[in-house]
Amino acid sequence: MMREIARVIDVPYQPYGDSPTIKSYTRWEEIGRHVGRGNVYITGALPTVLSESELRIENKLLREHFIHARAYVVRERTVTVKVEDAAAHIYGAPDVLITEGSGSIVMEGGGKDVLHIHRGGTVYVHIFLRNGSVTSIVRDGEDSHVRYDVEGLGGEMGIRGVAYGKRVDVVTNLFIKGGAKGLVEYTLLVPPGGFLVHRGFGKLLKGSKGGKVHMDSSYILAPGGFAVSVPSIEVYHGDVRGASHESRNLSLTEDQLFYMKTRGLSTKEAYRLYVEGIVKERVGEAYHYIEDIVETFTSLLDV
């Protein structure tokens, strides 16, 4: 049975004593190790449309383990995940969603914090959460369109992330109702020849008394790249705590570079350090990826 599961989800089987501990490789740390090798993905449908025949899981206990999985890897698929009851964690959105290749993924979840990693390819990703937050990493995106909608009635919510690739369009929408507080912080890493767009709305809807929203859109631009930033805000209620947005070019300036070089760093090291600092600020939780992102981006900078 364990071999069958391993075949279906294409993960090298790792036995842990007698226990069929699926969790051991569905934990984010475990998945992270495999992502770089490109051999971890689920070929079946996601849990709400899960059927035994598709996954050929005969053991009920194992199936439960799978449903409770904290990470999904979706490759070359068009899938839809809908969560009717936000409190029903068994069918809740995953903590980690990894998308790769072509297709489209629509995920509607409840109150969750989701880490989404898009690993390149032509894809449309749409994540809709209520009272949740998204940490987003778009890597090696080519013609990628990624959209996040987060809607909140109260509490705090946010979308943070970084994107780099050739042609990437990231949309981050926050819809605030009630006295919720929302924050978007997104940074584009634009390589030479790259065309990256970050746009989105911070909306304080009717009835958002005491609501607050802030959008921060920034980019590090390499020569020959093109960055577009459209952080819009719409306020439909007068009695709000405030709405604000900002947009900046975070490219390393000559003065900054000079300062770092006088401290003994080479140009390349200075760029690495600088980019790492920015990326950590945005997606510090996904620490497995930071080194890879920084290395890949700075290697494209021709410095």
Binding site: A222, P223, V228, V230, G238, G242, H245, S247
Partner: protein
């Protein structure tokens, strides 16, 4: 006095030809109008415009001329003179203007450039007269800064333009007093398409003011003007607009300036009146070291929409732009800021700073901000920040504790909110604007 001419009906080639004939235009201008009409018929409405879809191109007064041109207020027909006297224009002209053109419906009815201008070699003429007297000079710039193909209503403007002012400031001349154009819509169903063209030659300076007004009407009128400014090397042009149309006017104004090397363009856009307003002054920083400073103020009171903003194109190294936008929404008004900063590859060390603040005075009002940044130059410094907030209780409490009643306190807070804009305006206009706001808000706020 010749009989008044009114061209009304369905928009057609005949109407366009008739306007051109009435003005005795040269062939190239007539052809330009017809080309624009074809373009208008071919183009679709811009997607970002809401509210113009109900405009009907039938039974509209496309052109209305009182057929009078006076150089003295006393030569104007009484009903026209009274309008301008009520608006205080003759007094203003006397006190601090170097030249004034007044447009009544479609045509200029009054024009006077003081002798000082003539002695300096400055040309300030009604647009039609300039086309006749300086065809080569006008042709060199007309429609080159804001082309007719920009969008459907720019094409409509070029087909039907009438009225407006032409200004040419020669090399090194600094005009010491402002020049002004005043537009007034008098007739029901009248549409206005005035065209303003300001050319500042090398090292010159000019301050041009445009203002407008209209009485309350039974029907909706449409204002579709174009302002073109061309600043040659090291020239400095200041352009101030105080828009105070009545609530029956849809205001769609198209404004653009081109700045050559070292030139400086200042826009001050004050938008108070109108039912719906779409105005985005824009500057093309074409020459190295050119700069622009734009102040945009909008007041949206009542169930009306003010869609304004600013656009800057950085095309050369060391160019600099600053945009400051302030908007106030009250009584269910909607303020929209729509801006664009485009920094092209090669615009090394370009610097752009955008700041827009919106103030909401009640729960029914709305404020939206849509900034676009499109950057291709890594060495460019670009920052944009925007805030939307309400009049805080702490501010009001502080002012009331100093002995002001609630209305006074609110007016003070509102005037304080736009103090940066007021500072940039000529004193007379700043005071007038302040008075209008005080009168407006002491009645309505709260």
């Amino acid at each position: 006095m010749a009989e008044e001419l009114i061209l009304k009906g369905k928009l057609s080639e005949d109407i366009v030809k008739e306007i051109s004939r009435e003005k005795g235009e040269p062939e190239w201008m007539r052809e330009m109008r017809l080309q624009a009409l074809k373009l208008f018929n071919r183009m679709k409405d811009p997607l970002w415009v809401k509210g113009l879809e109900n405009l009907k191109l039938e039974d509209v007064v496309f052109y209305s001329s009182p057929r009078v041109m006076a150089r003295d207020w006393d030569d104007l027909p009484e009903h026209i003179r009274k309008v301008y006297e009520k608006l205080g224009l003759p007094e203003q002209e006397k006190r601090f203007l170097a030249g004034l053109t007044a447009t009544f419906d479609s045509e200029n009815v009054y024009h006077k450039a003081k002798e000082l201008l003539e002695s300096m070699g400055v040309i300030m003429l009604p647009m039609e007269e300039a086309v006749q007297k300086y065809p080569d000079l006008v042709r060199k710039y007309f429609g080159r800064v804001f082309p007719m193909g920009e969008h459907r209503y720019a094409a409509l403007h070029y087909a039907l333009w009438s009225g407006g002012t032409f200004v040419y400031v020669p090399k090194g001349v600094r005009v010491p007093f402002p020049l002004e154009a005043f537009f007034y819509i008098y007739k029901e169903e009248e549409w206005q398409f005035e065209h303003t063209l300001v050319v500042a030659d090398e090292g010159s300076y000019v301050h041009f003011i445009e203002a407008c007004a209209a009485p309350t009407m039974q029907t909706i009128s449409f204002h579709d003007g174009v302002v073109e400014v061309y600043a040659h090397r090291n020239a400095h042009v200041k352009f101030t607009t105080v828009q105070n149309w009545s609530r029956d006017i849809l205001n769609f104004n198209n404004k653009r300036a081109i700045a050559e090397e070292g030139a400086f363009i200042e826009w001050i856009e004050g938008s108070i009146g109108s039912r719906e307003s779409y105005v985005y002054p824009s500057v093309v920083l074409k020459g190295e070291g050119s700069r622009t400073h734009m102040n945009v103020f909008t007041l949206s009171r009542g169930p009306y929409v003010k869609d304004s903003g600013a656009k800057v194109f950085h095309m050369a190294p060391n160019t600099k732009s600053t945009i400051v936008s302030k908007s106030i929404s009250s009584d269910g008004g909607v303020s929209i800021y729509r801006g664009l900063i485009r920094i092209l590859k090669g615009a090394r060390n370009a610097v752009s700073t955008v700041s827009c603040d919106s103030l909401l005075l009640d729960n029914e009002s709305e404020a939206h901000t849509y900034p676009h940044a499109q950057v291709e130059e890594p060495s460019a410094v670009f920052t944009h920040e925007a805030t939307t907030g309400k009049l805080s209780d702490e501010q009001l409490f502080y002012l009331r504790s100093r002995g002001f009643d609630e209305d006074e306190a609110k007016v003070m807070a509102v005037v304080g909110f736009i103090k940066d804009i007021l500072r940039e305006m000529p004193l007379e206009y700043a005071n007038a604007l302040k008075t209008v706001l005080e009168a407006d808000f002491s009645r309505s706020v709260g």
